[in-house]
């Protein structure tokens, strides 16, 4: 009897994770592409030095960060994938979303400062340990760079 309850709990968690996780991911991607279109006018680069046109601009550090968590379905899926090896597409999309969200937050901070560009963009990813070290729990992605603000 107890085994059945545990199995039921496991399956319902799996279903909840699959259903809500997929919905959240779809909505998040939709909002990401929408905001990427809005913020396209802020030039983003990883160059260490400003190009000639930005030499008379003011600078300021801008950053954006996000903590994002995996859903239960993805944890189980990647656990199974770990047995056979190969690409963990479940985690790939998670990290892709987190990184793009962090960039967008950095860009909107730059936009609030009326900046034209963000240069020397750097990323930093860290793991926030979940319960008892199983799965990856949640991850934090930080994007930071220098905003180029035209002088008034």
């Amino acid at each position: 009897m107890e085994a059945f309850i545990q199995l039921g709990l496991f399956l319902s968690l799996l279903f909840i994770g699959y259903f809500f996780g997929r919905r959240a991911e779809k909505q998040h991607y939709k909002s990401i592409t929408q905001r990427e279109d809005q913020l396209r006018d802020i030039y983003l680069s990883t160059d260490r030095f400003p190009t000639r046109e930005y030499l008379r601009h003011d600078t300021q550090l801008v950053q954006g960060s996000v903590v994002i968590s995996v859903d239960y379905f993805k944890v189980i899926l990647s656990g199974l994938k770990n047995l056979v090896g190969g690409r963990l597409t479940a985690y790939e999309s998670l990290l892709d979303r987190a990184r793009r969200e962090a960039i967008l937050r950095m860009q909107s901070e730059a936009k609030a400062l009326n900046a034209h560009a963000v240069i020397n963009t750097k990323f930093e990813t860290s793991r926030i340990s979940g319960s008892a070290g199983q799965g990856i729990g949640s991850i934090e992605v930080l994007a930071y760079g220098t905003a180029m603000i035209p002088r008034a």
Partner: protein, 106 residues
């Protein structure tokens, strides 16, 4: 205090290098937030409480770094880098470091 993660400041001249400055902070998670995060681990999605917490701590680290720079007479910190590490279950360290310099208008 000018803070930037590039190595030069446009329109300004670096007249003196004062060396490395750093600021760090160790933050623990909130038990209530941790419980909510545990629930979020089932359905997935953003953990807003943690995002805020880490933003605050990063600001604190930057403030400590610029205080240190001010104490040695700098007016700018260039080439700033961030680093985050989980040092124990439920606590993370956030470090900001850079080079303290004196800049002058060209």
């Amino acid at each position: 205090m000018l803070i930037s993660n590039i190595e030069i400041i446009p329109g300004k001249k670096i007249t003196e290098h004062l060396g490395l400055v750093q600021g760090s902070t160790v933050r623990a998670k909130h038990a209530g937030r941790d419980f909510m995060a545990g629930l979020k681990n089932i359905v997935g999605g953003e953990l807003k409480g943690y995002t805020e917490l880490l933003q605050e701590s990063r600001q604190e680290a930057v403030n400590r770094m610029s205080e240190q720079a001010k104490a040695i007479g700098a007016n700018a910190v260039i080439n700033v880098r961030f680093s985050t590490s989980a040092i124990a279950a439920g606590a993370s360290e956030i470090l900001a470091y850079g080079t303290a310099v004196i800049v002058e208008e060209k």
